[in-house]
Amino acid sequence: MDLYISAAISGVAVGLLYGMIGFAIVMLYKSTGVANFAQGTLATLGAFVAWALVTDAGLPLLAAVPIALVASGVFGIIVYFLVIRPRASAGNLNITVRTLGLSLLLLAIMEWRWGALAPYRYPTIVHGEGIQIASVVLPAQSLLIAAVAAVIMVLLWALFRYTRAGLSFRALAEQPDTARLLGLRATRLSAATWGLSAVLGTIVGVLLAPSAFLAPAMMEPYLLFTFTGIVLGGLTSLPGALLGSVIVGIISNVTIVAFNLEAGVLVVFAILLIVMLLRPQGLLGKQEAVRL
């Protein structure tokens, strides 16, 4: 029994991680209706930039990270103008597949530049033993991830709920034409959203790289479970992303420990299908009404 509890707790830890990756995706979806498949590679790129500043330019990590964050913000905005904005009327599916193409491009470039000697050791932000619950030990970095995830979620949720900017984002996503007519600066808002997305990605990348080992394809194994968690929790709900991801983490880890890896994947898939059947809007999502 102890084993299962421990597995569940470690599942919470990994679920928080998936959820944190998912925030940026949900935020972008809420604001633009586009599902960003490039979130993982953006995050990895940001982590690489920070690392390059430390190893090549000799900066301390705590100086390199803020620089990398700024750089990613700028890069996100550039991505918006080069990849997303041209012919924005092409439809959501087209733009979503563009993010897929972007992901492949960034991956190929990172492999070219840094792939040969990957994976690389990455400095942790915090060091230390961590705490023990049941028989599982949660290292300090995991606790930091959990804390950061909670803070980001609260900040983003407050942004959408209480600020003018947040309201503008939501309006833009739901009714882009009307929003424009009402004077919302759609381009600026969208560019800002993409910039913010890239920044969030870099935060995740920097926190994750010590345990996942910095390599161009570092985030790939996480993405599928992140998307599953988001869909489970409700595409437009930030707490939903967290909840869904944590559920995925727990179920996956407990099933792996109880049976084996294949069973773990199968069970998560089954849960995904069932929840989507019974509650298509996700656990915490809102039912979307379609006007005719």
């Binding site: 102890d2 084993l3 421990s6 597995a7 470690s10 599942g11 830890a13 990994v14 190929a108 492999e111 792939g115 040969a116 000697l117 990957a118 994976p119 690389y120 050791r121 961590g130 028989s135 599982v136 030990v137 290292p139 345990s211 996942a212 080992f213 390599a215 161009p216 394809a217 790939e220 194994p221 996480y222 880890n253 792996i256 420990v257 084996n260 890896l261």
Partner: protein
């Protein structure tokens, strides 16, 4: 405006004709660079020997694979600079297959009529995909990094491997562990590399025959993000030894998880050569170093006066065991070619089969032996331990399929 089908017909026909022209041009182009009109042997002309490799040069696996052929190329270049082999230079072409077995097959099919021999392959999936094609075409397949038993057992004509199979390694490792620390319980963790089922089975047999017991196993995909669940299982089972056959990065992740969860086994972690890679050294938690006993096909650190080691000394891969293996294998190939006259594919195969304790790359490989029935060159495994950013040999263990015939391990001098 709607366009009638007739209108569409014309431009599309033009487009297709253009496509046909391109294909024609390419098909002509493909014939260039072949050892075409030699009557001596495929891939051999008066002044050139054509060698080729299908290798994982891109994608996530590249880091564990590319150094092998990069190092081999360095060695072939050196040989060429010194005049080649009997006046022939070596032309070495490496084509990417991105670890896709189907692409590897496509590449290999293109080699069969033009190249003399195939040099290595990285990873069991690609080796398993191509060996039958190569063997039935009579083209030598020299020294791949492979863990799939059926590739070399029973011995297929032309397919030679230096490195021991993972299943032989796990058995040898258990012997070593029991010899050094006394019999105990084992838990086995593997990635699906080669015949992982056999790897688990042989470890189990070795444990039970040695007076220990087998308490469990786990299989994890390459690239698993979280080894904590398995670490927890191990903590619960509390075995004396953990036997692993996992890739470089995965081994590091797994070991780190064991350290984090205070789950390191009492007597030690025994790992196959899959873990002996630069990618492991880059990322493992050094606190675990003393608990790790890994099997290596090559001597580490390698002797500094070895030709390969000198060659690699200034580069990025100076300490990467994969590069050592690649270069040392190239040394073996060059030696085999030198010993074969006239140079034919069959002749090469016979040369290799005749090797008995042949020292192809002293200071890196132990002497290798082959025969008509045995196409695996090495019969001993070095036991190494990581130390900072290097591996050090601490013992040497013989192994074979017949466990009872195995002698004891010898500690490093």
């Amino acid at each position: 405006m709607r366009i009638s089908s007739a209108r569409k017909f014309t431009p599309l026909a033009v487009g297709v004709a253009a496509l046909a022209l391109i294909l024609a041009a390419c098909s002509g182009g493909g014939a260039v660079g072949a050892g075409g009109d030699s009557d001596a042997e495929v891939g051999v002309t008066e002044d050139t020997i054509y060698l080729a490799a299908s290798q994982t040069l891109s994608g996530p696996g590249a880091a564990s694979c590319a150094p092998s052929t990069d190092a081999a190329k360095l060695y072939f270049d050196k040989v060429n600079a010194e005049g080649g082999i009997d006046g022939r230079k070596i032309d070495f072409e490496v084509i990417d297959d991105a670890y896709d077995p189907q692409r590897a097959l496509a590449n290999v099919r293109g080699f069969i009529d033009k190249k003399f021999a195939m040099v290595g392959a990285c990873g069991s999936a690609t080796a398993a995909a191509v060996y039958k094609t190569l063997s039935s075409a009579g083209m030598p397949f020299l020294f791949p990094t492979n863990g799939v038993a059926e590739v070399v057992k029973p011995a297929a004509p032309g397919v030679f491997q230096i490195l021991p199979l993972y299943e032989d390694q796990t058995a040898a490792l258990v012997h070593y562990g029991f010899e050094e620390f006394g019999a105990g319980s084992i838990f086995v963790v593997v990635n699906p590399l080669g015949e992982y089922e056999s790897a688990i089975e042989r470890a189990r047999e070795a444990a039970e025959q040695g007076g220990g017991e087998f308490v469990g196993s786990a299989v994890a995909q390459l690239g698993t993000t979280d080894y904590t669940p398995i670490a927890l299982q191990i903590k619960e089972a509390a075995p004396d030894f953990v036997v692993i056959s996992t890739g470089g990065s995965d081994s590091a992740k797994f070991v780190n998880a064991l350290v984090d969860q205070n789950a390191l086994p009492a007597k030690g972690v025994l790992g196959t050569s899959a873990a002996v890679a630069g990618s492991f050294l880059n990322s493992y938690n050094v606190a675990a170093a003393e608990h790790l006993y890994l099997g290596s096909a090559t001597q580490l650190p390698a002797a500094p006066d070895n030709e390969c080691i000198e060659l690699l000394a200034d580069g990025d891969f100076a300490n990467d065991p994969i590069a050592h293996i690649g270069c040392a294998s190239a040394m073996g190939i060059v030696q085999a070619i030198r010993q074969t006259s006239p140079l034919t594919r069959e002749g090469l195969m016979e040369t290799i089969e005749s090797w008995n304790e042949e020292d192809v790359s002293p200071g890196v490989f132990a002497p290798v032996s082959f025969s008509a029935e045995d196409h695996i060159g090495l019969a001993t495994l070095y036991i190494v331990q990581p130390d900072g950013s290097e591996f050090n040999v601490i013992a040497q263990c013989p192994y074979s399929e017949d466990d009872s015939a195995v002698g004891g391990c010898t500690a490093a001098g």
